[in-house]
């Protein structure tokens, strides 16, 4: 037994939702890339906040407000440590990865991108790392350029290098593809952009629960992720940004909490990170994120990654043995999910039949329609793993897929 081996039964027991049956079958939750379930510790942390010390933050003189503020700001420190950022001033709380990216597109993009400039993304982006840049391009007259990838789902680095030679003002790429499972060589992509003085945003929505992220080692300018993908609540996300850049950027939204002094003539903005946190945030959910990071740290991301990787390897082998099943995304570096199609069965039908077997997967375009277009399919089915999944659950998935074949006489 390796030192990294986890007691999955014990971990599963911490997730109340996993105890249920759906359609009379034990729930097999394999839709973790869409959103992961929450351990009791996180649910309790949110309940404790609302039942024990909830009040608005940063402005109360009373005890509850002080306690809420401390808990909220403690989470900022936890996020800083989790990402190994240099300062808590570099950690901005948002509503999620999508808002984090929109913040950069609007504030940094609005400030630096002009007509004729280019924004460089990849062909395997989630819509949330495509559309904000398209909006920016529409506003400014800049152009969106796209790095292609191979049939296996790996970025073509020669093309990336060639595209970097254009008038690129920002590179934005997904760390771990939600549609293919490809783990992109982030450090290398960033180095190549930096060699030309181009700043980089990394979409970490999928990578954050599966691998250790060190923003200083990566040296990216921006890193975005969502709490709900890493065992925390939905509605909260994080934008990491290098301090010098954030300081130079204009505010994203105006409102309370982001100001130093407001008069009708002029407003002085607050210092980082408050400058980018207008309005009352999702206080209890931010605190829930802090609890989620504690929970993940207690298990250890390395152990989580090792467990998930073993599941991925096992699932890849098992699924490959089903005739007519084709795995989409066969990059050498992959993590945590397997997307596939089955000849003669549409992913939507696969999803419905699996659901009746208790197996929750995602069927559709995974908010990555250009990836579907790249492979000429309308949709795929996707099973994605979290720390609480087991080999037995992969077996249930495989058995359910045989039922799909039975139903459609394939």
């Amino acid at each position: 037994m390796s030192t990294l081996e986890l007691d999955i039964a014990r971990i599963r027991a911490e997730f109340p939702i996993l105890r249920q049956r759906v359609h009379g079958k034990p729930l097999v939750y394999l839709d973790n890339a869409a959103s992961v379930q929450k351990p009791k510790a996180v649910i309790d942390a949110i309940t404790e906040c609302y039942t024990g010390y909830y009040a608005n933050i940063h402005r109360g003189v009373h005890l509850l407000s002080e306690r809420s503020t401390v808990a909220y700001e403690k989470t900022r420190e936890k996020v800083r440590a989790f990402l190994n950022a240099a300062s808590t001033q570099e950690i901005i709380f948002t509503r999620g990865t999508t808002e984090s990216i929109n913040l950069v597109a609007s504030s940094f993009g609005g400030q630096t991108v002009k007509a004729g400039d280019e924004i460089l993304i990849t062909g395997m982006e989630h819509h949330s790392n495509i559309v904000p840049w398209q909006l920016l391009c529409e506003r400014t007259g800049a152009k969106l350029k796209v790095v292609p990838f191979t049939d296996a789902g790996e970025l073509i680095l020669e093309e990336y290098e060639r595209l970097l030679d254009g008038p690129v003002k920002l590179v934005a790429f997904v760390h771990l593809s939600n549609a293919l499972g490809t783990l992109n060589p982030a450090r290398q992509l960033i180095e190549m952009a930096h060699a030309r003085g181009i700043p980089v945003l990394v979409d970490g929505a999928q990578s954050i629960p599966h691998l250790t992220v060190d923003v200083q080692a990566l040296d990216c300018e921006f890193y975005a992720f969502s709490a709900h993908k890493i065992y925390g609540p939905s509605g909260v996300g994080v934008l990491y940004g290098k301090k010098a850049l954030l300081e130079a950027m204009p505010p994203y939204q105006g409102g309370g909490d982001m100001i130093r002094l407001v008069t009708f003539e002029k407003t002085d903005y607050a210092d980082l990170p408050n400058k980018f946190e207008a309005g009352t945030p999702s206080i209890a959910d931010v605190i829930g994120l802090g609890s989620a990071l504690d929970w993940v740290n207690a298990i250890g991301l390395d152990a989580i990654a090792a467990h998930e990787h073993a599941l991925l390897d096992y699932a890849t082998v098992q699924l490959s043995e089903i005739p007519g099943l084709k795995i989409m995304g066969t990059a050498r570096d992959k993590a945590a999910l397997v997307a596939f199609t089955m000849q003669g069965a549409h992913p939507h039908d696969i999803g419905t039949i699996l659901d009746r077997e208790g197996v929750a997967i995602r069927a559709g375009h995974h908010c990555a329609q250009p990836v579907m277009q790249r492979y000429g399919v309308p949709a795929t089915a996707r099973a994605s793993f979290a720390v609480y999944n087991t080999r037995d659950e992969v077996d249930v998935l495989v058995a359910a897929l045989w039922k799909v074949k039975e139903m459609f006489e394939l």
């Binding site: 003669g344 069965a345 549409h346 992913p347 939507h348 039908d349 419905t352 039949i353 009746r356 069927a363 559709g364 375009h365 329609q369 579907m372 309308p378 949709a379 039922k403 039975e406 139903m407 459609f408 006489e409």
Partner: protein, 147 residues
């Protein structure tokens, strides 16, 4: 697996595997696309209408078993019908796939899709082709979307 058979009835599986009227009409009088953004399904319908009667109706596209079979069954049901009847049939069909109503007699084979009512997320699949026909008759230029 019995309850799944209520959804995936033999007629549906047959129409999915061998869709009827699955071709493009070269010179349709009416045409529209239907898109289900949830799953990326896209169905195009082509109609040849003469004297307010659907002389021919065909479809093309890629979709799940429910949307393909529904489109196929719909073309069979609508061929030869006066266009005045389309709305009435669509309403009756919509009731069948969304409510616990008793299937009206006039629906014929379309009633095999009644099992969809137990799968709310699949109602849009069953009605996609119908929405496209309605759009074609209203001469929509852009694809109709089920969302």
């Amino acid at each position: 697996m019995n309850d799944l058979r209520d959804l995936y009835q033999e007629v549906i599986l047959d129409h999915n595997k061998r869709p009827r009227n699955f071709r493009i009409l070269p010179h349709p009088t009416h045409h529209a696309d239907g898109v289900n953004p949830l799953c990326g399904d896209r169905i195009s319908v082509y109609l040849d209408i003469e004297d307010e009667v659907i002389k021919d109706i065909t479809f093309q596209g890629a979709g799940c078993a429910i949307s393909s079979a529904s489109a196929s069954l719909m073309t069979e049901a609508l061929k030869g019908k006066p266009i005045a009847e389309v709305e009435h049939l669509f309403d009756a069909f919509h009731d069948v796939v969304t409510t616990d109503c008793e299937c009206p007699k006039g629906l014929g084979k379309l009633s095999v899709l009644a099992g969809v009512r137990d799968y709310p997320s699949r109602v849009k699949c069953a009605t996609l082709a119908w929405h496209a026909v309605r759009a074609a008759l209203e001469e929509h230029k852009e694809a109709v979307v089920t969302e």
